[in-house]
């Protein structure tokens, strides 16, 4: 008898939970008049879009900008398929992709130098600059030990980005490489940075914003990846960061893009470590 | 583990000994047993005669099975059990702190209520006891001897490598008896060995038990009074954990001294 009572109470409890849940759900589906803006794509652009969105969201009650990473290719295919309002890319759009978007609108939101970073012990041991050829040799597996280029007698730990990412594409294009002998493939810029800093004899490449601290950037062919050098065009590994849209922006999307392109937006670009587009 | 250490590090005590009267194989002396706080056996005294069959009868829950499990310390496997008193086997107290319960069990074999052969082959089932006790014997010999002793040899001699569970219930139980014989015990305990069997299988087992008493001392717990009357030489009647009456089977069944025994035997309760 007692057991039955308990069971009965549990049935009632379960039904109660279900009821509450469905009421909640019903409440949720009502439109609260908030305009959604979805931004997705390159993780290099992510800090810019992210920090801008935070500031933008706090100023606008009726607009909510959601930002997610995923990579340049993902960002571009998202606007091809219409799954996001804005696609971020850290590489130029390919012709095959351009063909699929009739009304492509391109915003250059900033400029990035692709910096080569090495582990602190390597930097301290005197590897503060590399030539393009040395980088190519390291990435193609011809140089295996730091002592071959004047560093400590330790094996080089080569870190790269995932093959589908925009940064990988830009790097391989700029270096003229087709294949690498990397020891670790990382999904995002910050992953590369962490992998390089936690190992003692590693090398990797990241967006300029991700350098500094434990991950010192080396100069390439004698040119430091600094804001001034990139702006002046001295640094060879540089690329534009884009917002791609399918058709001219309107409404909330336009407001957000305008904010990013405004002087305050460009200040944020500089704050997170990139070079403003203007 | 540390308890065990301390225990073992105590001064080695000399095993207590007692000369049993001739013809008596085991003697239970003021034996008490508790499951947690319930007392299941209340100061039982009993003599088990050599090469005789002793039956223990009584209503359900009277402690028959508990008592028989007490005779080879199978009760040790239940953690809440506490015992008091002595059980003498050939002059050694099996409940003595220095006695090894594993050795006791080798000398006092047991057959259970439900046939419980291991899921091995028939031969492996029988050889198992020899193996774990490190007995240096020929496997084929032991298997043949035990199966013959348990009157199973003719039925299974061509399929010794088959799984024991493919045997019928009665065969399984005889296999269990054969298995118990393999370790060369002196006493065999049987806990309602026929309760799960049909009458024909029961008759075979009863014949077998009768056969066994030539070499072993047998104790059998049974629910079936006819069976007790048929096979046993001595009968013990238990009720609520106490041994009410113990004596010659013919005497117990024809002329019970106690009122309660008479009631049970004539079927007025139980």
């Amino acid at each position: 008898m007692k057991m039955q009572k308990k069971s009965k109470m549990m049935v009632i409890g379960m039904i109660g939970i279900l009821l509450v849940a469905s009421v909640l759900m019903a409440g949720c589906t009502e439109d609260d008049g908030v305009n959604e803006v979805t931004v997705t794509g390159s993780s290099t652009n992510l800090p810019i879009a992210q920090m801008c969105a935070e500031e933008f969201n706090s100023e606008h009650d009726n607009i909510r900008v959601s930002v997610s990473g995923g990579g340049s290719g993902y960002g571009i295919s998202a606007i091809i398929e219409g799954t996001a309002d804005i696609g971020m890319s850290s590489r130029d759009i390919r012709q095959s992709e351009r063909d699929q978007i009739p009304d492509l609108v391109e915003y250059t939101i900033g400029i990035d130098g692709l910096a080569i970073i090495v582990s602190k012990p390597v930097y301290n041991a005197g590897i503060t600059g590399l030539t393009t050829q040395q980088v190519i040799d390291i990435y193609s597996g011809q140089t295996n030990n730091w002592n071959e280029i004047g560093g400590p007698d330790e094996d080089i730990y080569v870190v790269e980005r995932a093959e589908t990412s925009g940064t990988y594409g830009s790097f391989m294009d700029m270096m003229g490489l087709e294949e690498t002998a990397a020891h670790s493939t990382q999904l995002e810029n910050s992953d590369v940075r962490r992998t390089v800093t936690t190992s003692d004899y590693a090398i990797g490449y990241v967006g300029m914003a991700y350098t500094g601290g434990d991950a010192p950037a080396v100069s390439l062919d004698g040119v430091e990846p600094t804001v001034a050098n990139v702006q002046a065009g001295h640094y060879s590994l540089q690329r534009n960061l884009y917002f791609y849209l399918n058709g001219e922006p309107t409404g909330a999307v336009k407001e957000y893009v305008d904010f990013v392109m405004s002087s305050r937006g460009q200040e944020i670009v500089a704050e997170v470590g990139f070079i403003p587009a203007h | 583990m540390f308890e065990k250490f301390k225990e073992l590090l105590k001064e080695e005590m000399r095993c207590e000994r007692k000369e049993l009267p001739k013809g008596i194989k085991m003697q239970v002396e003021s034996f008490n047993l508790w499951y947690g706080k319930t007392q299941a056996i209340k100061s039982v005294n009993m003599d088990l005669k050599e090469n005789k069959i002793t039956a223990i009868i009584g209503p359900s829950g009277c402690g028959k099975s508990t008592l028989i499990r007490g005779l080879n310390r199978m009760n040790d496997t239940i953690s809440s059990v506490k015992t008091e008193g002595k059980v003498w086997l050939d002059g050694f107290n099996i409940y003595d702190s220095t006695t090894d319960c594993v050795d006791v069990r080798r000398q006092v074999g047991m057959v259970f209520q439900k046939p419980n052969p291991f899921p091995f082959s028939i031969a492996d089932n029988i050889y198992y006891g020899c193996e774990v006790n490190g007995m240096k014997v020929e496997k084929d010999e032991v298997v043949e001897r035990c199966l013959k002793q348990s009157a199973l040899w003719d039925e299974v001699k061509d399929r010794l490598d088959e799984n024991a569970l493919s045997l019928s219930g009665g065969q399984q139980q005889r296999l269990c008896i054969a298995r118990a014989l393999a370790t060369e015990p002196e006493v065999i305990l049987m806990d309602e060995p026929c309760s799960a069997l049909d009458p024909i299988a029961t008759a075979k087992i009863e014949d077998l038990i009768d056969e066994l008493k030539n070499h072993y001392t047998v104790v059998i717990v049974t629910h079936n009074m006819q069976q007790a009357a048929r096979v046993s030489d001595y009968t013990a009647y238990m009720y609520l954990g106490e041994l009410i009456e113990f004596g010659d089977t013919t005497q117990i069944f024809e002329n019970p001294q106690e009122n309660s025994t008479e009631k049970y035997i004539t079927g007025r309760f139980g």
Binding site: C28, Q50, S66 | -
Partner: protein
Amino acid sequence: MNIRKLISLWIFTVSTVVAILGFWALATRMDVEYWMFFVALTLISASYYLSGIYHHMTEKDMNGVFMLFYASIVLMVAAFSFYLPEILDMRQWEINARIPNFFFYSLSMLFLGIFSSYLSFRPFYNFKKEGAQMGAYYMLYITMIFTLIPLFVILFNIVYRGAGGITWEFLTEDIISMGERGGVYPAILGTLALILVTAVIVLPLGVGTAIYLAEYARKGLAVRVIRTAVNILQGTPSIVHGLFGYAFFVLILFDGQKCLLAGALTLAILTLPIVIRSAEEALNAVPGDLRDASLALGASKWQTIKKVVLPPSLPGILTGTVLGLGRAAGETAPIMFTAVYFSGAGTPSSLLRPIQALPYHLLSLYRLIGYRDVDLQAWATALLLLIIVLGVNVSAIIIREKYRQRF
């Protein structure tokens, strides 16, 4: 005092100390010099030699042989250790490692200690089979301890490093500055919403299927096929569910929009087999005679199920469901392509909007460690996630223990 037992105890103590030292050295990468290893070796082998002399007089056969064998192993290891270089460069065999010899020494000390203490029980029991039993038990204690060590290390680290980050602000504020400041409020709500919607979808489906399978379906080929399919689905890696959820729910059903509903549907498929199986088990645990009794009294089949079969099996069904949901709450792979954004999604407001969820938030924060100052936040998120998931599981276990029914 018995000398035999004293010797055993002595060997046991020495070996245990050696084993603990070895483990400690391994865990802290303490430099173990070769002389430390030698001292341990000498101590243990001397003790054995002693016990060998003593036992040789009483135990004629196996003892002497066993001592000789043991001593020869010890000597071989000792001789070998002279040839061990300071750092063993495995790269000469194209293996990517350079192993310092302290590793070998501490590992040998660990195993030597465990093995000797294992053997020390044999003289203890005068080389009878109880000695082997005690030794085996001892090895089992050790495996239990070694099983618990990593698990304790994990729990300790999360609690120790994360507890400081769990503040009121952390629980109630939005994610600010890529997780550097603020809290995880939207992610908590997102995870809860995800579980809730998943439950609403999976409960009727799973329990209904289980009732059909257990009560109505004839046991035939079809049921066997279904059961196999459910089994396979239960073992399917969660990333495959994520793949399916992305390609089907997100791309086809929701027009490319990641959203709460897509994530919940994916998680519902993930938990469906768990719910079906546990519900079926609970239903099958109700003995058949109960059903027969009810039917014999003139009840219809549905009445029997409703009044006789379901009530006692409800706790089991609920336990299984809650356990499934606990698993769903901690999953990252199925939701990362279907439902979640790192930030900006806000508190869940609609079934068709993206959300934030704790597991994915932890992944994002992990990615940012080093670049942004999010260490504490990441550990706190891990702790919070652990608390939520374990809380769900604990409630399942409580339901099970409290309403457990025996037939």
